[in-house]
């Protein structure tokens, strides 16, 4: 399963035996996973299996119960809130529901991190924000409020906002869920371009099979709180694990045990 | 202005609904528990502390001027019964009960439960506001009595232990007369009636989703607090002219 990575692809992120419970619900049991520099890694699995929980640990939005998380040779799971700021500047996150601030226009949303971290004045930050929005084809909506826009538009603006800090790693939490196919493929292309052109590492949480099999470099399948299968698109597609097969073929019955059913 | 007319409409249909009867069984008791029992600690703590503060301030002031503290107790009980107890209880209930009623009815409105009531031939006012109205009127009077008593006792103890006022002189009820008591009772009943009508009205006007409920809750707190203050002003002025001599 874990073939030794070539030296160039040294892991930038490592999860080592991470466990996490909410109340008496054990979500992650023993999750270990490496993320290589510059790759697009998909974390897949059924709803509620702990995919989002996994990536939220990486930027300290959640704390681990056991295990270690390493980023670029530094341990991050033990950091305190103020010490997390430099990590969060290097690892961006695009949330499932965008989390744009609804009291601000798109331009103001994108300008906020520019103003806070790059010391720009509001005027200059707004100009820069428009340029950033243009990169995701959203400049004509710069003066609209998030509530006035569709999910796909909000998601693109959220991506633009996350990219303002020029992160080395971007975490995407279900970027295409709830989007129509056209918008979903646009988001896919954006993610792919990031890795290709700018060498950004992407970790994508998803259960959108089309995205998974069109843009992933590697796929990690999470089942019962641990990584059940890890490999390239072809390797996962050819997996002889019946649970993996049930998931990627979207069958309602099979060996998979899903909580709540 | 439109809002005030609609508010009056809610009040009138509440009274009509009360006369008509036919409300869900046990609902009044449930509401009395929600409005009364659950506010007891809140009213006791707030009115108790403000009673101590008022006596403290009054004694300080009397000390500054005459040094004669024998009048503090008799004047205090007159003010407590005719105004402080009902009005402060009313203000506190406007916050606690007003917000609760608006949040509850507002949530039902935005989740279309109110429309469902209407569809099944039940008037929302009858079903939602009338039980709260009756419960609120009764419990406001009860809580006013409780709050007033706690205020009076807390004030008396402050006067005794901080300023050495004789307890017998402080707890002298000879100057209290029916005029003070009836004015206080009228106020308590009026606030008890106003709070559920104003906040129920705000709840029924909630639109949209969670923001709508939030808006209704805020509006209910402010609306019923202002209603208490305005009614207090009107009733106090009316009391001054109608009861006049008896209050002195």
């Amino acid at each position: 399963m874990s073939d030794a990575p070539p030296p160039a692809a040294r892991p930038v992120i490592e999860f080592r035996g991470v466990a996490k419970a909410f109340g008496d619900k054990q979500v992650l049991r023993d999750l270990s996973l490496d993320v290589r520099k510059g790759e697009v890694l998909f974390i897949i699995g059924t709803s509620g299996v702990g995919k989002s929980v996994t990536i939220k640990h990486l930027i300290g939005l959640l704390g681990v119960d056991a295990g270690e998380i390493w980023f670029d040779g530094k341990r991050v799971d033990t950091l305190r809130e103020p010490e997390l700021a430099p990590i969060r500047k290097r690892i961006g996150m695009v949330f499932q529901n965008s989390t744009l601030f609804d009291s601000m226009t798109l331009a103001e949303n994108v300008a906020l991190p520019l103003r806070k971290h790059q010391g720009m004045r509001q005027k200059k930050a707004l100009v820069e924000a428009r340029r950033r929005l243009d990169q995701v084809y959203m400049s004509e909506f710069a003066d609209r409020y998030p509530a006035e826009l569709s999910d796909g538009m909000r998601k693109r603006a959220a991506i633009a906002r996350t990219l303002t800090l020029q992160p080395e790693v971007v975490l995407f939490d279900e970027p295409t869920t709830g989007l129509d196919p056209v918008n979903a493929r646009r988001i896919d292309r954006l993610i792919r371009e990031l890795s290709g052109g700018q060498g950004v590492t992407s970790v994508v949480v998803s259960h959108d099979l089309t995205s998974i099999f069109s843009i992933a470099d590697r796929i990690a399948f999470i089942y019962q709180g641990a990584v059940r299968a890890l490999g390239s698109r072809d390797e996962i597609r050819a997996s002889d694990d019946p649970v993996v097969q049930q998931f990627i073929q979207g069958q309602s019955s099979g060996p998979m045990e899903t909580p709540g059913f | 202005m439109r809002g005030l007319i609609e508010l009056w409409g809610v009040f009138v249909s509440t009274i009509a609904g009360m006369i008509r009867g036919g409300r869900p069984k046990g609902e009044i008791v449930r509401q009395m528990h929600a409005i009364g029992n659950k506010s007891m600690l809140f009213i006791a703590v707030t009115l108790g502390f403000i009673g101590m503060v008022m006596i403290y301030q009054a004694c300080m002031q009397f000390n500054r001027v005459t040094g004669d503290l024998s009048q503090v107790g008799v004047q205090f009980i007159r003010l407590v019964t005719s105004d402080f107890a009902p009005t402060l209880t009313g203000m506190m209930l406007a916050t606690r009960v007003g917000a609760g009623i608006a949040a509850e009815i507002g949530s039902m409105k935005v989740t279309e439960q109110v429309d469902a009531l209407r569809m099944s031939g039940v008037l929302p006012v009858d079903y939602l506001i009338v039980p709260r109205f009756i419960a609120s009127v009764v419990m406001t009077v009860v809580l006013t009595t409780l709050g007033g008593a706690i205020m009076y006792v807390a004030g008396g103890l402050t006067a005794h232990y901080q300023f050495g006022v004789n307890l017998k002189i402080f707890f002298d009820l000879s100057l209290l007369n029916p005029a003070h008591l009836s004015l206080g009772l009228v106020k308590a009943v009026t606030y008890g009636a106003a709070i559920p009508v104003v906040s129920g009205f705000c709840g029924l006007r909630a639109k949209g989703s969670s923001e709508g409920v939030g808006w209704a809750t805020t509006a209910a707190v402010i609306g019923s607090s202002l209603a208490v203050l305005l009614l207090d002003f009107i009733l106090s002025v009316a009391g001054f002219f109608v009861l006049g001599e008896a209050l002195r």
Binding site: L61 | Y56, G214, T218, S225, L229
Partner: protein
């Protein structure tokens, strides 16, 4: 009988634990806010935005409240004043009560109901839609960026409103004195100026600063700890206004003793 006693004890126990947890949470938040204020790295834009919004929301309501509060205190003292035929005392009695107690308390309660409740609802909505986590993910500290400007704005705004409100309340008392008891304005003004000291005014102002801080902290605390969607937001607003009312009354008690 036994069941009832047991239930009552359990009730008292859980209530105590809940209150202790909430007070603890608010105190921790207060320390976080203080730490963020030294050295002051206040987001100016957020501060101005909040000041503007809060002022807009509350000035008319506070003015109305203060006017009637002043009038009320005058009416309450009227029977006494009539009895003693001491018109010269009316302004003093009403003014003393308004400046030291009724003004700061009523204005604080109204402010809590309007601005505090709104603030809780706003922060609560942001919390349930993960906007606070969104800020954290952008390496922006929600306490510094969101909470501190709101707390500062609320303290400043309530202070300003109390100064304005005191004035309006005295006007309300003077008008009521003329209309209800027939006391001339000049008599009223003399009564106020001759008998009240600047400290009576300051006494209320000091209180309003403390009230402002406690309303701000409670409303922010209940906002950022919201659980459970839209219903949770409504419940948080309710809890916040109740907690703010209790804290205003308790602090008033301690401040009165302390300030004398």
């Amino acid at each position: 009988m036994f069941g009832f006693v047991e239930r009552a004890i359990t009730q008292v126990g859980t209530t105590t634990v809940r209150i202790a947890r909430e007070v603890g949470g608010i105190v921790v938040l207060a320390f976080d806010v203080l730490r963020a204020l030294f050295p002051p790295t206040l987001d100016g834009r957020e501060l101005v935005k909040n000041l503007y919004k809060m002022g807009n929301q509350s000035v008319p309501i506070v003015a109305l409240t203060a006017f009637f509060a002043g009038g009320l205190m005058l009416v309450q003292s009227a029977p006494f004043v009539e009895k003693l035929q001491a018109h010269a005392l009316a302004g003093w009695a009403a003014g003393y009560a308004v400046l030291r107690e009724i003004g700061p308390i009523l204005i604080a309660l109204m402010f809590s109901g309007r601005v505090g409740a709104n603030n809780t609802a706003e922060l609560g909505t942001m919390t349930v839609t993960e906007q606070l986590d969104g800020l954290r993910a952008l390496a922006i500290d929600p306490i510094r960026y969101l909470i501190v400007p709101r707390v500062v704005a609320m303290v400043v705004m309530l202070l300003a409103l109390t100064v304005i409100g005191d004035l309006v309340a005295l006007v309300g008392a003077a008008i009521t004195a003329k209309a209800v008891v027939g006391i001339e304005f000049s008599t009223f003004i003399h009564s106020v100026v001759d008998n009240l000291k600047p400290y009576d005014f300051l006494h209320g102002i000091y209180k309003s600063m403390v009230f402002g801080a406690s309303i701000a902290l409670t409303s922010c605390y209940f906002g950022v700890t919201v659980r459970g969607g839209a219903v949770g937001v409504g419940r948080a607003v309710n809890a916040a206004v109740v907690a703010a009312a209790v804290s205003v009354m308790l602090l008033d008690f301690f401040m009165t003793y302390w300030l004398g």
